[in-house]
């Protein structure tokens, strides 16, 4: 019996179904119509039609962040593919596993400036983990399997697969062969930490008197939150999270000293600055954390654990580098601590914690509530949101002041609960990301916390939500301005609000209604809780809550530019 033969388009879909792909986020066009035809004739893979390809990438990204699985995108050649670029870059900066299938003009026309031809592999080269120019239909299944494997292993990241139209068309067929157990001679992601380095790390930890654990998005990506908590409790060390690492340890854990960095807590930044040993776990010493690298923690011995060797000693020199998957390395550290009969240095710990409590008592992450009848403070909205959702919601953020308020005032109990574009800072990310999360977890509260600026960067997806019934809750902290820009202009540019004021904002309530959803506006503090409760009670409806907040509020604390990590403004005109 001869093997059944398939078209390239059928192979694409069959490969996705072999990989157990549930959702494919995309938008059709000439070069991928054969794939759409193949999708139409099966039920394994559900296609979700967005309204803009950028949103497809963010939806896949949100889905991936919440589930830990690979997110899949399909776009046509040319403009469809280039519309994905921002989403690919967003996923790349935050190490999110994603596969983007992009159509291409027929191989016979490549290079001719054919209609809707762009070299998407070239365009995306600096922002992908890897990419494939697929040129033969027989290669399609294994290229897709390899793309998925590369996307999710090691340090995860986006992978682009370019599929020319002529290898997808019904004119050519071939047998379908796929190797799901991918082996590549050129790619073996290191997994275990080197035993010698583990020993060195534990020795350094055991001799520390002022240890701090600084953990990042790697903990979330590696599902290492429980291990991190165990390690922190074993050492009784203070632990701080990066913006990407929030939820890596519960935000209410007694050892948690808050987020660090530009808008981190004073205690987190002070603890870093005064530590004698910094244990960095799945974090990359980003410039939004370190502030001026030349002034960064000069007295600390740095142990840096990361799956990606390029992250180690890139910006800050590591004294004890450990390359490995962070979950496995923490297990190794715990085993070695046990092996060497680690005993806490109680006296040193007591002193260290006393010092930290001193910084904590400044209560740097705080705000002044409005006077009677005054405008709602944005922080109050986040606090109300936290209360009503029991701290259990998925919170997907856009970019701006609202993002920082959410990070500061919603203590995340679990990893993957906090979803934001930390590395690229992509306005327009939050809403489609929330949609992807809601598709993965339809029974959970999923919030998109956004601003009047950001929400308009992908607002068209209100239509997608209607089509597929995706009842996310959009909470817009409407300050009638590009708040974060305005804050910098207030602080650095003499209060000249150049193009940071949003004139002619739409009526968001009516806009939501026009798309068939529920719109709500909150103007005063006394209706904040009740209206939010109402919104969350509408489980099956998308509710757009437009909250008018105080436009003058700034995000504090804030690092002083070019200073050390702990040089901070606590509030307006008040230095730490």
């Amino acid at each position: 019996m001869t093997a059944k033969l398939y078209t390239g388009a059928e192979m694409v879909v069959k490969a996705l179904s072999a990989l157990e792909v549930k959702y494919l986020f995309g938008y059709p066009g000439g070069s991928v119509l054969d794939i759409y035809d193949a999708l139409f004739q099966q039920d394994d893979v559900e296609h979700v039609l967005v309204r803009h390809e950028q949103a497809a990438t963010h939806m896949a990204d949100g889905y991936a962040r919440a589930t830990g699985e690979v997110g899949y995108v399909l776009a046509t050649s040319g403009p469809g593919a280039t519309n994905c670029v921002t989403g690919i870059a967003t996923a790349y900066m935050d190490s999110i596993p994603m596969v983007v299938l992009a159509g291409q003009v027929p191989t016979t026309l490549i290079g001719d400036d054919a209609f809707q031809e762009t070299d998407i592999v070239g365009c995306s080269r600096p922002i992908v983990k890897h990419s494939f120019n697929c040129r033969r239909l027989e290669d399609i299944p294994n290229i897709i399997a390899q793309a998925a494997y590369i996307a999710k292993t090691g340090r995860p990241g986006p992978v682009v697969v370019e599929l020319p139209k002529d290898i997808l068309m019904p004119t050519h067929k071939a047998a379908f062969n796929i190797e799901l157990d991918v082996q590549m001679r050129s790619y073996n992601p290191t997994v275990k930490g080197h035993p010698k380095q583990i020993k060195k790390a534990v020795k350094t930890i055991a001799n520390a008197e002022r240890l701090v654990v600084y953990s990042g998005g790697g903990i979330v990506l590696a599902n290492a939150a429980e291990l991190l908590t165990e390690l922190v409790e074993t050492l009784d060390a203070p632990v701080t999270n990066t913006l990407m690492g929030l939820g890596g340890i519960s935000g209410t854990h007694k050892n948690f000293i808050g987020m660090l960095g530009m808008h981190g807590s004073l205690e987190a930044n002070k603890t870093m600055a005064n530590a004698d040993v910094i244990l960095a776990l799945g974090a990359r010493f980003d410039d939004r954390v370190t502030n001026n690298v030349k002034k960064f923690c000069p007295n600390a011995t740095i142990i840096h654990v990361d799956i990606d060797p390029t992250s180690i000693s890139k910006t800050i020199n590591a004294h004890v580098p450990v390359v490995g998957l962070v979950d496995i390395v923490i297990e190794q550290l715990l085993a070695e601590l046990k092996e060497t009969n680690f005993q806490k240095n109680e006296a040193a710990l007591k002193q260290w914690w006393q010092q930290i409590e001193g910084w904590r008592s400044v209560n740097s992450v705080s705000y002044v509530p409005p006077a009677e009848g005054g405008k709602i403070k944005p922080q109050q909205v986040v606090e109300a949101m936290y209360k009503i959702t029991n701290g259990e919601a998925y919170v997907c953020s856009d970019v701006g002041q609202h993002q920082m308020f959410a990070a500061q005032y919603y203590p995340f109990a679990k990893p993957r609960q906090w979803i934001n574009s930390g590395g690229l800072g992509t306005m327009g990310f939050g809403f489609p990301a929330a949609m992807g999360v809601k598709m993965a977890f339809p029974d959970s509260h999923v919030i998109c916390i956004t601003g009047d600026g950001s929400i308009q960067m992908n607002i068209q997806e209100l239509s997608t939500c209607m089509q597929y019934g995706i009842p996310v809750k959009i909470i817009s902290l409407n300050n009638r301005s590009l708040g974060m820009v305005r804050q910098w202009q207030d602080m650095v540019y003499g209060g000249r609000h150049s193009s940071s004021y949003m004139e002619s904002l739409p009526d968001f309530v009516k806009l939501a209604e026009a798309y068939g959803h529920v719109g709500m506006q909150i103007n005063t503090l006394d209706e904040l809780d009740s209206k939010l409760e109402q919104a969350f009670a509408m489980k099956d409806r998308l509710v757009f809550v437009d909250v008018l907040v105080d436009e003058k509020e700034h995000v504090y604390p804030m690092q002083i530019r070019l200073g050390a990590i702990d040089d901070m403004w606590i509030k307006k005109g008040d230095k730490a």
Partner: protein
Amino acid sequence: MRRILAILLENEPGSLSRIVGLFSQRAFNIETLTVAPTDDPSLSRITIATVGDDKVLEQIVKQVNKLIDVIKITDLTERAHVERELVLVKVLAMNDKSRTEVKRIADIFRGAIIDIGKQIYTIELTGDADKIAAFIKTLSYETEIVEVVRSGCVGIARGEKALKV
């Protein structure tokens, strides 16, 4: 410091562009770059001569290694190695005097005259970067250089050590 990096990678479309792209994206320096398939046609070998301090070099090696289709990278300059570059030089050889001089210099440097035109000699020479620089400089004292093409350097470790899969 000048370094010579040898890279073994999958011989696939796009592999080279990823290397070149990486260098420009991260503002790493490329002095010379050569690429060709190895005895195993599924593999390419790239030699890059670059300059940078230790920190930059560490990043270059790590970043190149991180590319999915790179199998191995090694810094040849860390150990004993042989470095060679091929140069073809076209010079004016208008009269007996200059012809004799050019021939003499070529002989001293163990170069070979590989083509002769009416008033032009073309010389081929291999050597390391210093030798080639010295050769071109010496020639320029005696005659006018019309055209120079250099292959970029290739290198290999001395002794047992080999860069292979």
